[in-house]
Amino acid sequence: MSQTIGSRTLTWLDGARRSVCRIGWPATDKDRAAAMISSLFLHIHPARVSRHVLKPTYTFALGLISGILFIVLAVTGLALMLYYVPYPPEAYRSMKDLQFVVTFGIVLRNIHRWSAHAMVGVVFLHMCRVFWTGSYKPPREFNWVIGVVLLLLTLGLSFTGYLLPWDQLAFWAITVGTNIAAYAPVVGDQVKFLLLGGHMIGPMTLLRFYVLHCVMLPLAMLLLISLHVWRVRKDGLSGAEIHASPTEELAGAFPASTKTYGLMAIGKRPRASVEARDPNDEVFAWPHLLYRELLVALAVIIVLHIVSLVFMAPLEEIADPTRTPNPAKAPWYFLGLQELVHYSALMGGVIVPTLLVLALLAVPYVDRGAAGSGRWFAPERKMANTIFTSLAAVFVVLTIVGTLFRGANWAWVWPWK
């Protein structure tokens, strides 16, 4: 009797579980493929991936980490919004509350702040990886362009977030930053007026930055990340093709790789195959890829927590428009530009950044031809790599100089003195 009650309960529970998640722990290859394809969230992965994709030294998971940081920022940001009041001077007081009154407020704030800084760096490194492996070559040209927009959005999100604490650091960084924008020819002053919602940084500015930071830019980012990752899924990761041996017999004999598309109802194969055609080179995304992604996510979360428990996010005195701190610095990722601005505002504030962005956008359309794609530092790409690396190095050096080697009156200082 108790036997039947027990087994009936189990059957009932199993039925309930099946209503949520139709496949159980996938034990057969068919289920492993189905697990990936039948889930809304997992089907951004292909069912089977080339071993090449799994090699951590190819991507260093930098795109994945960018995505994880975005999720961390969205979650912690939503939590912070429950206490934050976007109106001066309450804005500053709510930061103090988060720091001293709200349980775990300080940890959440630290995680949000440090993830934002990390994201700027990681997205930049991801871009370098994509360049150095020639991964923007056909058919991925446009995904590079989307990537450049994502980089700009990342900077925009960081910059708008910088004002929200309404402390001296925030106020003067945004003063310097928005005045750089005002140097743009013809429209500069109007752009600044629109951004500030007036002639000076005040309540209107805070509200505008708040809406941009909490709603508009994150939505744009979410949309573009989806598009970006979708295209990676369609085109496959670069490099898989050259590591596999695509023979027609094999492609015919092992229809598994085309079957994915059948299940997803996609008529045409993309130009580059998502899966390597050599089945010996392929493994199932469940569990090989998924497990690695979980490990990376875990590592990111652990590191963020340790950093946020040890290092406090800065909060200076409340913003005071009548008192300029000396030196007044923009956020660190703009200090390369500020260093240039110190020589000439038009040059550093407008001409150089505009040319840099245009050059980045044009990269895949100027550096044409498929040679050297999918490998680190391919010798065929020596010239492109040299140009890119030199420019990136100059930019990094300027940023370090602006951050560490500039003191009062923007005079040269040695950081160890």
Binding site: W172, T175, V176, N179, I180, F193, L194, G197, G198, H199, M200, G202, P203, M204, P321, T322, R323, T324, P325, N326, P327, A328, Q338, V341, H342, Y343, S344, A345, L346, A408, N409, W410, A411
Partner: protein, 154 residues
Amino acid sequence: MTKKDVLPDPVRRSMFAIGCIAVGAATAGFLAATFRFLVPNVLYEPSRRFDIGPPSDFPPGAVTFLPDRRLYVFNGPDGFYAISSICTHLGCNVKRGGPGFECPCHGSRFDENGQVAQGPAPKALAWYALSLSPHAQLVVDLDQQVSPEFRLRA
């Protein structure tokens, strides 16, 4: 296969194009209106024209800094004049230093008339018109810039 088996396209391609253009135009108009919406009509900022007290508050030969207004007011031998403390480079507050003004942010220097002496600032500090109100108060108008010859005799 008879003709009946083929479902005709519900619209012609040209109609489809016209539809797309119409929706595009409507969206563009809507966005233009929204753009205008972003430009505030009323600014809840301190007035750009304000009085700063009677001339007797400013002793002859002295320089007074009004931090809230970001303004230096001079009472020189030929009369009163006002110079902005907003650095023309990137908007920091300049301080009195040397013969004129110094900016803490990127090291611009200005002479006693606010003309650029050194550094990245592209133009001179702004001079604003001063006038005397009917109640004998000094009035500054930030929307009226004047040349360094300006003096108000009061």
